[in-house]
Symmetry: C2
Subunit: 282 residues, 2 copies
Amino acid sequence: MIGVGLIGGSLARALRAAGAVDEVVGCGRGRPNLEQAVELGVIDRFSHDIAEAVQDADVVFLSVPLGAMAGAFAALRDHLPAHALITDGGSAKGSVVHDCREQAPELLARYIPGHPIAGTEHNGVSASFAELYQDRRVILTPLSENAPESVALVRQMWEACGAEVTEMSVEHHDEVLAATSHLPHMLAFGLVDMLARLKENDEIFRYAAGGFRDFTRIASSNPVMWRDICIANREALGPMLNAFAGEMNLLAERIHRGDGEALLEIFERAKAARDRFTDGMK
Amino acid sequence: MIGVGLIGGSLARALRAAGAVDEVVGCGRGRPNLEQAVELGVIDRFSHDIAEAVQDADVVFLSVPLGAMAGAFAALRDHLPAHALITDGGSAKGSVVHDCREQAPELLARYIPGHPIAGTEHNGVSASFAELYQDRRVILTPLSENAPESVALVRQMWEACGAEVTEMSVEHHDEVLAATSHLPHMLAFGLVDMLARLKENDEIFRYAAGGFRDFTRIASSNPVMWRDICIANREALGPMLNAFAGEMNLLAERIHRGDGEALLEIFERAKAARDRFTDGMK
């Protein structure tokens, strides 16, 4: 487990609960977090050195920030045991594949990119729990270099955690995630930031109600992680943000014109889609 | 109670619970809803005719859609008892004041505009409950024509329901609400609509997680009500939407440039403001 936080810690707990692992070795920078991970029984032991941590590994799971993936691949390059596989939990896939190709091209065949669609607003190993992936989706974006049995092993790992695994291309993953996760986060961060910069911002927040709280919850997410995601997925996210801005300008124009019919059509279509989505989650 | 739904029904229930009313008369178009309101003990009796409904009224509460306010003032014009006051629950105030001024200028002195910042995603009298306004804010936007004792009575009415009453100008109310409520609704409706129009929309929604659900909850709101709010508050909302679109284009540019420092600054400022806001709500 390179990175023992919510994502890696929960994976370790779930695999233990399923009886699917013998030993879990943690690797990270912060000693207190790693010590806590041992105390909590999430990992058996730890090292601050990637090469040392992976020396007996069958599977290496990378859950470091996207900005730290390149360094992790560089550290793995000459130290990954010959039979071991690598997979990860990064929220963008193109950039991680790129990092592997740049830093450790010989590992590409043994790197099976993955992304569990799960999380909470809490961070760190203390927030991890074995049920995080139960009935959640995990997307794998296998590379042409991957052997089918390697992909199957990673799939099996996630299924042991109760997840529903699907496969798609790297590019498609990054577009889908830009739409459903990265763009909404930008809107929430952008809205709260715009309001916070208004001079009467204290008063404005005072009159915000429950809808605003729900809407902006994701603006409490980790800023460093989101900086990394934005940059990692900039190809998909940038154009989507511009498209959304265009939609908002069009909406403003319709509001300005008082075009009730067009507004109603948008709101009804959105409500219908949202209600279908909620029904689908039940 | 002109309009006996969540807002009007909850007000009636709260006033009854506080022992602050003798008789509550409902007025509306749908007979089944009004009959249910009588059965639930929310109102004592009802009429479909505004003139008839208000003939013994001390206070008239308008909670009809913003698009129906003008008609309500026109109907009240020659039938409001001489001592009676009018107040309302409309989400925009400038348009309702405008409607009163146009349709019944002689009632302006007796119309005290108000807006309870409360609601749920449910509609109709069956969703009403006496505690809806407990510890919630109610904004009054008194007019220069209003007598202080009229404003005091409306304030007292809301305080009897457990609400915290504040006063501000009509224009300021409409700006604050555009920022904290109307703009977020536009973003949620706009996002869901944009995604729903993508050809692979079923798949996109399939990979949306909990954050998306929270973020888009308000896109399930009543489309007709929101069409009315947009048009009623177009002066404040339109420019704010354009400003937000500008922010998103700027953000896209920063993402495109990979300007991690600028991104981190935005996300940190937003997170700090959001966390302050949440602390303030505890």
